[in-house]
C-alpha cells in the first residue's frame, strides 16, 4: 500500500461524515468512561497513599490466609479476562452461541470473585475485627481505605456481571452486535486492570513479613 493511499485513508475521517478514530460510538464512549472511572480510582488510591504516609501504617495481612486467598481471587479475575478474550474473538467470527458461552464463563468467574471476596470480607470482620471505622492493628484508616477501595471495585465487578448477562442474552438473540461484546470486554478488562493495582497496593504492601 502506497503512502499516498494511507494518507487518503486516514484523512477523510477527520473531515466529517465519519468516525475519525475508526471505532463505533459505543466503543469510544466506553473508552471515555474508562478514563473518567480510572480518575475516580486514581483519586482513591492517591488518598490511600496520602493517609498511608501520614500515619503509622499497619501490615496485618499474613501469607495465610489473606495473601493466598487474594492471590486465588486474582487468578480467578485474570481467568475471567481470558474467557472474555475468547468471547470477543468468537463474536468477531460470528459464532453467537460460542461467544455467549464464553461470556457466561466470564460472568461465572466474576461471580466467583465476588463470592470469594465477600467471604474474605466476612473473615476479616468476624475473625480479625477489621471494620471501616476500627481495627486492632493500628490506624482505623487502614480499614477505611481497604473496605472503600475493594468495595468500590467489587461494586464494579457486580455491575460488570450484570452487564455481561445482558450482553450475553442480547447477543445470543441477535439484538446486539459483535462490537457490543467487545465494548463489554473493554469494561471487564478495565475492572480487571483496576484490581491489578489494588492487589499489590492494598494487599501485598500490607503483608507482614515474618
Amino acid at each position: 500500500m502506497s503512502e499516498g493511499h494511507a494518507a487518503t485513508m486516514a484523512a477523510p475521517t477527520w473531515q466529517g461524515g465519519g468516525t475519525p478514530l475508526a471505532v463505533g460510538h459505543k466503543k469510544l464512549g466506553m473508552w471515555l468512561f474508562i478514563i473518567s472511572d480510572s480518575l475516580t480510582f486514581s483519586a482513591l488510591l492517591l488518598t490511600y497513599s496520602y493517609v498511608r504516609v501520614a500515619n503509622d501504617w499497619p501490615t496485618p495481612f499474613h501469607f495465610f490466609p489473606s495473601i493466598v486467598f487474594s492471590t486465588i481471587m486474582t487468578l480467578v479475575l485474570l481467568t475471567s479476562s481470558l474467557t472474555m478474550v475468547y468471547a470477543v474473538s468468537a463474536a468477531h467470527h460470528g459464532a453467537r452461541r460460542k461467544a455467549a458461552k464464553w461470556i457466561w464463563a466470564t460472568a461465572f468467574f466474576g461471580t466467583a470473585f465476588v463470592v470469594l471476596h465477600g467471604y474474605e470480607w466476612l473473615h476479616l470482620m468476624h475473625d480479625e475485627g477489621m471494620y471501616p471505622w476500627a481495627n486492632e492493628y493500628g490506624t482505623p484508616l487502614f480499614g477505611g481505605t481497604f473496605f472503600l477501595i475493594t468495595g468500590l471495585h467489587m461494586f464494579h465487578v457486580i455491575t460488570g456481571v450484570a452487564y455481561l448477562g445482558i450482553v450475553a442474552l442480547g447477543y445470543r438473540r441477535g439484538k446486539w452486535l459483535p462490537e457490543d461484546v467487545e465494548v463489554a470486554g473493554l469494561y471487564w478488562h478495565f475492572v480487571d486492570l483496576v484490581w491489578m493495582f489494588v492487589f499489590p497496593l492494598i494487599y501485598l504492601l500490607s503483608t507482614s513479613v515474618e
Binding site: G29, S36, L44
Partner: protein, 608 residues
Amino acid sequence: MTEVQPSKEVAEYTEVHRHPEPKSFLWKYIFSVDHKVIGIQYMLLAVVAVFVGMALSLLVRLRLVCPECSYPLLGQFFPVGAPEGVMTPEFYLAMLTMHGTVMVFMVLTTAPQGGFGNYFLPIQIGAADMAFPRLNMLSFWTTFVSFLLLMAAFVVEGGAPMSGWTGYPPLSAVPEATVQGIGQDLWLASIAVFCIASLLGALNFIVTTLDLRAKGLTMMRMPLTCWTWFVTAILGLLAFGVLLAAGVLLLMDRNVGTSFFVPAGLVVSDKVIDHSGGSPILWQHLFWFFGHPEVYIAILPGMGVTSHVLSTFARKTVFGYRAMVYAITAIGGLGFVVWGHHMFVSGMSPYSAFVFSVLTMCIGVPSAIKTFNWIGTMWGGKIRFTSPMLYSIGFVSLFVSGGLSGIFLGQPTVDLYFHDTYFVVAHFHLIMGVAAIFGMFAGMTFWFPKMFGRMMNEPLSKIHFWITFVGVYAIFGPMHYLGMLPHPRRYAEITSVDYLGATGAAELHMFITVAAVLTVLAQFIFLYNFVKSIFAGKECREENPWEATTLEWAIPSPPPHDNFAGKVPHVYRGAYDFSLRGAKRDFAMQCNDDKAVFGEPAPQASGD
C-alpha cells in the same frame, strides 16, 4: 440550503440516530430523547435554580446590612434558622453555602453546557441528535434528582449545610461541629449524583463532536461554540470523577466512621473528637483538582458564545480563529495544573506555591489572546448593536475586570493578604459568575428565534442589559475595596468589628445591598421577556434572522424533530465567513458552496 444526496453509508450512519417523533406528551416533553427538548429542560432547570440562588444571595445581603432585622415570613418558613424572622449566623452561612452550590452546579454547569450545548452542538455540527440520545435523557433526569436532593436539604431537620460550596472539612465532616445533620449528607449525595450525571453528559458531548460532524466539517471549521462545548466536556469528564471520589470519602467520614479528612486531636465544643489520621488538606487537594476546572466548565461556553456573537454582529470573521482554538484548549489544559492556588494559605511548601503561581500566571496568556482577538474581531467591523451583541461585549468587559484581579490572587504573597476577603468574592463573581451569565444572556437572546420561532423583545432586552451591566459593577466593584481593608468574607455581621466600621465598610455594604436588590429585580424583566416571548413574541419564521453563517440558521425555526429533515448537510467552509470580497451577500453560510456564494463563474475559494 445546499444539500447532497446522502450516500448509502451516510444514510445508514444517520439512521442510527433517528428515532421516531413521539406523539404522547410524556415521551415528547418529559422523557424525551430529543436533544432539543433536553436542552430546554436543562435551561428551565437552570432558570428555576438561578432564581433560588438569587433569593438566597438577597438573604445573605440582608443579613449583612441588618443582622437584627426581623422578616416574619422567613421566620414562618425557617423557625430554627430564623426564629421570629431574625436570621441566625448559622442560617446566614447556610444560605451562603446553598447560594454557591446552587449557582455553581445547578446554573453555571447546567445552562451553558447541558442547556445551550445540548440544543445547538448537534445542529451546529450537522447531526440528527447526540451520539447517545437515551444517555442524554438519563443525564438530565439524574441532574434533576441531584437538584431535588439539594433542595431537600432546606427542609430536613437542622436545615441546609453551612460549610460553603467547597464543603471544607472538618466542618463538613464532623456532624458534632454544626447544627445541621442530614442536610450536609443530602448536599453530598446531591453533588455525587451530579458528578455522575455530568460525566455521562460529558462523554456524550465528546463522542458527538468527534463522530457526528457533517461531511466537510473538519475540526478547524467548527464554530467556536462547538470547540468550547467540546473542551468543556473533556474538563467535565476528567474533573467530575475526582469530585465523585472525594464526595464518597466525605460521606464515609460522616456516616461510616472513617476519618479521611478528620485530623487527630480535633476539639469541637470542648470535646475531643474520636477520630484520627486524616487531613482536611487532602479534601482541598481533591476538591480543587475538580474545582478549578469547574471554573472553566462554567466560563468556556460563554467564551464560545461571545466569539460567535461578536463575529456575527461585527460582520467580520473571528480574528485569529486558530489562536482562539489553541487558547481554548490551553485554558482547559492549564486548568488542571493550577488547583494549588486555592490553597496558598492552607499550609503549602513555598516551592509548590511558586510552581502553582507560575502555572496560574500562564493562564493569563491564552486569556489575553482571547480578549485581544475579541477586540480584533470587533475592530473596524460594521457592528450591529443587537441585544446579544451587547451582552457579549458585556461579557468581554466582565471577563477583563474579573481576570485582572486574578493576577493579584495568583501571587502567593499577595494572596496571603487577600485570601478569604471580599476581594476574592469580587474576583470570582465577576469572572465566573456574572461573565458566564452574560454569555448565557447572549446565547438566549441570540438563539431564541431559532428555538421558539419568535423574537425576544429587543428594547426590553436592552433595558435589562444596561441595568444588569451597571448593577453587577455596582455590586462587585466596591467589594474589591472591602477586600483591601481587608474585610473577611463569610462573616455574618460586621457591626462589632471596629476597624471595619471606621473605614466605611457598613455604608458600602448598604450600597451593595441596594444595588443587589435592584439588579435582582431587573432579572424579572428578562424573565418576563423570556416567558412572554415564547408565547406572544414577534413571530419570526425566517430561517436566518441574524444573517449568521452556521448550520443551525439553515434549518426552519423551530427546527424539525431530526434537525435536518432527513437531509444530510454538507459543509464547505469555515464558520465565520463574513464580508467576503466578491460574494453576493456579505456572508456565506457553512453549507453554501462557492457557486452559491459567488455565483458563476466561481472565483477562488475562501480559506477555512
